[in-house]
């Protein structure tokens, strides 16, 4: 039993072997470099946090998806399930200077949930938080940045499904039901179980005209030009939400990114802390969003400073699945010698020169005859430079 486990890893974890790890590192760096060009500074937080910190943000206490452990002093710790909350904690005390702050991260997060397509229980996210700025300008910036970042790594065929928390909130308020039922409606909309939603409305005795109206609003595709017309028949709270989306989209037009956006008023995120616009990003062939985000204006106040904020996160593993195959790392050079007098100093010098020019060089001091050197080069997929005596011989 024990010996079997020595080579195994826990369910939901995975190893990244050299070529895979290279691609993952490469895409993460590319995204972070792109995002940094928009004035975002990287931030890092511990993988372990206090359980209370991570659960401070969720309104209802249901079963959580945290990996938990007990510290030696008895306090409960958990692995971070996302980065927004740790960054909110930092914004609550440690950030210097005045808002707005533009922060980015590339980090691994952990969720104890069913293993999904392209997502293990440990996965990597690259994301941003724009803290301390209200209004459609900030939301537009975050949306545009998400789109620009995805385009920069070569993804073209994707759609950003954009909604607003105010829509569902307005709908729920207009129902004036008990909280328990509202929570049920919320979870049905989140799961896009429109059949279940209809049944629930029927059971609750909602008149059929109202049912149709609500389902229509949540399921019908909406063109941007329809918003104004759509608003006329709706309660004030919904109108405000729609007007905000309209403003964000008008600003986004300046980037020429409108074609990536699809209005979908049933868009919701599983985290309950979102308050304004929310979005999810989809690409062909993966049944789950590759990223998402939104505005969360009430999260930071729980950590002591009342700043509005907006942001997004992209799932690196899912992006790796959806990107066209990228080229592998450049071929390394294998530099070796037969040991019959070739000067080691001469080899070091040669390797140094090549490395200055960005060439990867594997320097093998141990003596090899030509056949051995050739075989090693083949196995490691490298170009061979083999020294015999003092002369340098190419392959």
């Amino acid at each position: 039993m024990e010996t079997e486990k020595i080579c195994a890893i826990p369910a939901g974890m995975r190893d990244w072997l050299p070529e895979e790890a290279y691609l993952k590192r490469d895409i993460t760096n590319e995204l972070l470099n792109k995002i940094a060009l928009w004035g975002y500074a990287e931030i890092m937080t511990p993988v372990l946090e206090y359980y209370q910190v991570l659960t401070k943000v969720e309104e209802e206490s249901g079963p959580d998806h945290l990996y938990k452990l007990i510290d030696r002093d008895g306090s409960i710790l958990a692995l971070r399930p996302e980065m927004t909350t740790p960054i909110a904690r930092i914004a609550g005390g440690k950030l210097q200077g005045k808002p707005p702050w533009r922060l980015m991260y590339g980090a691994q997060v952990f969720r104890y949930e069913n293993i999904q397509a392209g997502r293990q229980r440990e996965f990597n996210q690259v994301g941003v938080e724009l803290i301390g700025q209200k209004g459609p300008e900030a939301d537009c910036e975050v949306l545009a940045l998400a789109i620009a970042a995805l385009k920069s790594i070569g993804l073209e065929n994707f759609t950003v499904s954009l909604g607003h928390m105010g829509v569902l909130k307005g709908l729920l308020e207009s129902l004036s039901w008990e909280d328990k039922d509202l929570a049920k409606v919320r979870s049905l909309v989140l799961e896009k179980d429109f059949v279940g939603l209809r049944h629930f409305f029927e059971k609750a005795g909602l008149e059929s005209k109202r049912q149709e109206q609500l389902l229509e609003l949540l399921t019908q595709p909406i063109a941007v030009s329809d918003i104004t017309q759509l608003m006329s028949g709706l309660p004030a709270c919904l109108r405000t939400a729609l007007a905000e989306l309209q403003e964000i989209l008008a600003l986004l037009d300046n980037y020429g990114y409108s074609s990536y956006i699809q209005l979908d008023l049933s868009t919701l995120r599983s985290q309950t802390y979102y308050t304004g616009m929310v979005f999810e990003i989809y690409t062909a062939g993966i049944g789950y969003p590759i990223g998402g985000g939104g505005r969360y204006d009430k999260l930071l106040r729980r950590f002591g400073r009342d700043y509005p904020a907006t942001g997004f996160a992209l799932g690196i593993e899912r992006l790796l699945m959806s990107l066209p195959k990228k080229e592998k790392p450049a071929k390394p050079v294998l530099l070796t010698a037969d040991g019959l007098g070739a000067s080691k100093a001469r080899m070091v010098e040669e390797a140094g020169l090549l490395r200055i020019n960005g060439q990867t060089v594997v320097l093998e001091f141990r003596a090899m005859n030509k056949a051995q050197a050739q075989e090693l080069a083949r196995d490691k997929n490298a170009e061979l430079i083999w020294f015999s005596e003092v002369k340098k011989c190419g392959e």
Partner: protein, 218 residues
């Protein structure tokens, strides 16, 4: 290719009504069969491909985007526990989930003497488990792949949780339904990404199916 829709159709009793409603919605399903060896059919005029699969596999095909849409019973959706969008109740393939026990096990008042630690045989462990949770009972769930009605007769279990459309099978095996724990019918499910990326084609189909259901239902 980009906008081609792939629809997964279930083998078995939902197959015929599925292709009928799709034909009404204007798709060319002539010559489709779930008993032929062919598992893939094309409707080139409507730029649609059909794949024919086992009902229990349909949630998997749709979840991974191998099919954009699927028609499948609610029972398979619940049991699969996948994250899928359920767009329409297609109003055929109605059946009920029931808890049933042998008639002779009922007491004089016609009640079933529930005891903690009983055994429940079922094809639907997730549904049986949810039922037990709700009732606050403990029981051992025994997963079978078919002919669940056999289990009480050979003393594999005291009760069963099964899906029932007419109730004939239960009667023939001297089983009586104790409680109905849910209903199921055929649903149109969609892959989360396709729902966005192929919105136009999917909405067109959904709109015409809705119209058919409304006219048929009144």
């Amino acid at each position: 290719m980009a906008n081609k829709l792939t629809i997964a159709l279930p083998k078995g009793k939902l197959f015929q009504p599925s292709i009928e409603i799709l034909a009404q919605a204007g798709l060319n399903t002539a010559g489709f069969s779930d008993s032929a060896r062919t598992l893939v059919f094309e409707d080139t005029t409507n730029n649609t491909r059909f794949i024919i699969c086992r009902p229990t596999d349909i949630p998997t095909y749709v979840e991974h985007g191998a099919a954009d849409l699927g028609i499948v019973g609610k029972d398979s959706i619940i049991e699969a526990g996948k994250n899928l969008y359920e767009l329409l109740d297609l109003k055929f393939g109605f059946c009920r989930f029931v808890v049933a026990a042998p008639a002779k096990s009922l007491d004089a008042q016609g009640k079933f003497p529930w005891k903690q630690g009983m055994r429940i045989a079922t094809k639907f462990p997730a549904i049986a488990n949810e039922y037990l949770q709700k009732k606050g009972m403990q029981a051992e769930i025994i997963k079978l792949h078919g002919n669940v009605e056999l289990a009480p007769r050979v003393n594999l279990s005291e009760v069963i949780v099964d899906i029932v459309s007419t109730g004939k099978t239960l009667k023939e095996n001297d089983l009586v339904p104790l409680e109905e724990i849910g209903q199921a019918s055929a649903r149109l499910i969609v892959n989360r990404a396709s729902y966005r990326l192929k919105a136009a084609g999917i909405n067109r189909l959904v709109t015409s199916l809705k119209k058919i259901l409304l006219e048929g239902g009144e």
